[in-house]
Amino acid sequence: MIIEYENVIIKTICRLLIPFIQLFAIYVIMHGHYSPGGGFQGGVILGASFILLVIAYGLEESRRRISLKALTIYACVGLFIYSGIGALCLLMGANYLDYGILPLPLSSIATIRAMGILGIEIGVGIGVMAIMICIFVGIASYETGGENG
């Protein structure tokens, strides 16, 4: 069990850093479809920011902010966005993940595709973040039980 670490410097630095880390993570996610980066990397960074929170403020505090159950929901919703967009293409009559068909008010097929993959990256990002935190929290709190897969 990770308990709160009584050190002002670490706490303050974490407080300051975490928003920036998260901002960077979102940047990575949003640019994933045409530059290095993407949902997985961004999601990991986003997850790391929470892990930092756990390290600095202890498990209890972070549990208060984001519960294990909520994380499960996040993970599922994230992956649901991903596969849902794919399935949406199916419903529109194209192949799975063929975003060109999506009815977005954009000029060209290429931009629609770009938007489609962005949606996917966002879904993946949310999912990965949630699962990363899940793994960490699950392992850190082994006395209280819970496994993941």
């Binding site: 159950k69 499960t72 599922c76 849902g84 199916l90 799975y96 993940l97 496994e147 897969g149």
Partner: protein, 499 residues
């Protein structure tokens, strides 16, 4: 809708995938819904797989391009008669096993029900993905999905389960990594990951050592994953300690799907002529398989735990499949294909029976079964049919796969294999009749381990467990009687070209 048929290719994977996310979401509110979601998802997949098989047999191979990207750049799902057949086998057995899992999960894992079914569906997704994909790397991803979920599911079992699961993780990871290396080597020389594309690009490169190494990695990797004899060490523990719902799901399907990968690699990615002629690969495989058959049977003979005995018998039955593949003639291969189906039915049935025994009596020692047939007559009837099929008594299904394998061995003029197949029938008879004897006769009276006599009141397992058992048992008989329909209707088209 006209486009529905090809879309079934992706739906077969997508439905269980999305349902596995839906389970925690819905299960949060309604715990009982998990079972039904899983059942409906697998049922829908089954419908898709039947539709696909029907389409494939009528219209020929289906190609499905993910995201509309054409191969070899995009990922392609290909359904030909072989994986159409595999799909139906996996879906059908999964459906029955899932149907029966309700009560035993309720009893063994009441707290973890929701998570159990989420992971369970992911495992199913992985298996189906392996079956439908036409891309070697995508196959690796699905392989890992299936393996990871299997590790997790095995780990939640009783007593030695976590350790068994950990050993499986270590072995399984080596296997999967070897597979990945094989993919890498093929990618170096061809620059392609698409199976059809590879099959086109490889023949001019057959002289290359790299291709040879790639094939070797593929073989070892899949051999570990399917528990072929010297690499089977993870299998007995994993099957024994897993919760009964899990072992009856993994045992009939996991190793079969891995055998499917082996067949796919040997006969589609590489041309049969390469696997057979350039290196004596099939010879090596078939000899290893022959040893596996005998050793598996002998080890099974030494067990007193029913599930463990079945696990070792799986090791030997995998040998049959690989032997058929290794014979590399028409009859042998047909026997191997048929045995994939038959063994899925037999092992499904037997593991479900073992699960039912655990559920009702909590017992697994075969020497303590005394007079259990009074208590559970239908379950024990199914056990007898399954056992007879394992021994290879006609007209059960097990006899006919053996029959084709023997024909194949004779065609290959290899008398040792004939002897091995026949001897293993006898060994099977030895250990299965021991179970039957204990279940039907009052042997236990004099036996030192047989003290725990069961009260002979009639107490069958719940219908949701009994029906799948009986369906599988009836299936064993019907498959045996109508095996020729399956062969001439489906399997003959699944043979690699040139057979």
């Amino acid at each position: 809708m006209n486009t529905m048929q090809p879309q079934a290719v992706i739906l077969i994977v997508l439905i269980p995938l999305m349902s596995s996310y839906a389970i925690p979401l819905l299960g949060w509110r309604w715990k009982g819904s998990a079972y039904f979601i899983a059942l409906i998802a697998i049922g829908a997949s089954s419908v898709c797989s039947l539709l696909l098989l029907w389409t494939v047999l009528k219209q020929g191979t289906i190609h499905y391009h993910l995201g509309g990207w054409l191969p070899p750049w995009g990922i392609e799902y290909v359904i030909d008669p072989l994986n159409g057949f595999m799909g139906v086998v996996v879906c059908g057995i999964s459906f029955l096993v899932t149907l029966s899992s309700k009560e035993s999960v309720e009893k063994e894992l009441p707290e973890k029900k929701v998570r159990f079914y989420a992971i369970y569906l992911l495992l199913f997704t992985g298996l189906m993905g392996i079956v439908v994909t036409g891309d070697v790397f995508n196959l690796y991803v699905f392989l890992e999905i299936a393996s990871l979920t299997a590790y997790a599911l095995i780990a939640i079992g009783e007593d030695g389960a976590p350790l068994a699961s950990f050993n499986y993780i270590i072995m399984g990871t080596i296997g999967a990594c070897f597979y990945l290396l094989g993919v890498g080597y093929l990618y170096i020389v061809t620059g392609s990951l698409n199976i059809a594309d590879l099959a086109k690009l490889l023949p001019p490169l057959y002289h290359s050592k790299v291709v040879l190494i790639a094939l070797a990695f593929f073989l070892i990797g899949t051999a570990i994953k399917m528990g072929l004899f010297p690499l089977h060490v993870w299998l007995p523990d994993a099957y024994t300690y897993a919760p009964s719902a899990v072992s009856s799901f993994i045992a009939p399907l996991m190793t079969k799907v891995m055998a499917y990968i082996l067949i796919r690699v040997m006969f589609t990615v590489f041309q049969p002529s390469y696997s057979i002629e350039v290196i004596p690969l099939t010879v090596i495989l078939s000899w290893v398989a022959a040893v596996a058959i005998i050793v598996g049977s002998i080890m099974a003979l030494a067990q007193r735990d029913l599930k463990r005995m079945l696990a070792y018998s799986s090791v030997s039955q995998i040998g049959y499949i690989v032997l058929g593949v290794g014979l590399a003639n028409k009859m042998g291969l047909l026997g191997a294909y048929l045995h994939i189906l038959n063994h899925a039915f037999m092992k499904g049935c037997l593991f479900l029976v073992a699960g039912a025994l655990m559920y009702r009596t909590g017992m697994r020692n075969i020497f303590q079964l005394g007079m259990i047939h009074r208590k559970m007559p239908f379950t024990m009837g199914a056990l007898v049919i399954g056992a007879l099929s394992m021994i290879g008594i006609p007209p059960t299904a097990g006899f006919f796969s053996k029959w084709y394998l023997i024909l194949g061995s004779i065609e290959a003029q290899n008398w040792v294999f004939v002897a091995v197949i026949l001897a293993s029938s006898l060994l099977n008879a030895l250990y299965f009749f021991r179970v039957i004897e204990n279940a039907y006769f009052e042997v236990s009276r004099g036996h030192p381990e047989g003290e725990a006599l069961i009260e002979p009141n009639r107490e069958e397992v719940p219908l949701s467990m009994l029906i799948p058992i009986l369906v599988l048992a009836a299936g064993i008989l019907l498959l045996g009687l109508f095996n020729e329909r399956i062969i001439s209707g489906i399997l003959i088209f699944a043979l690699p070209p040139g057979f």
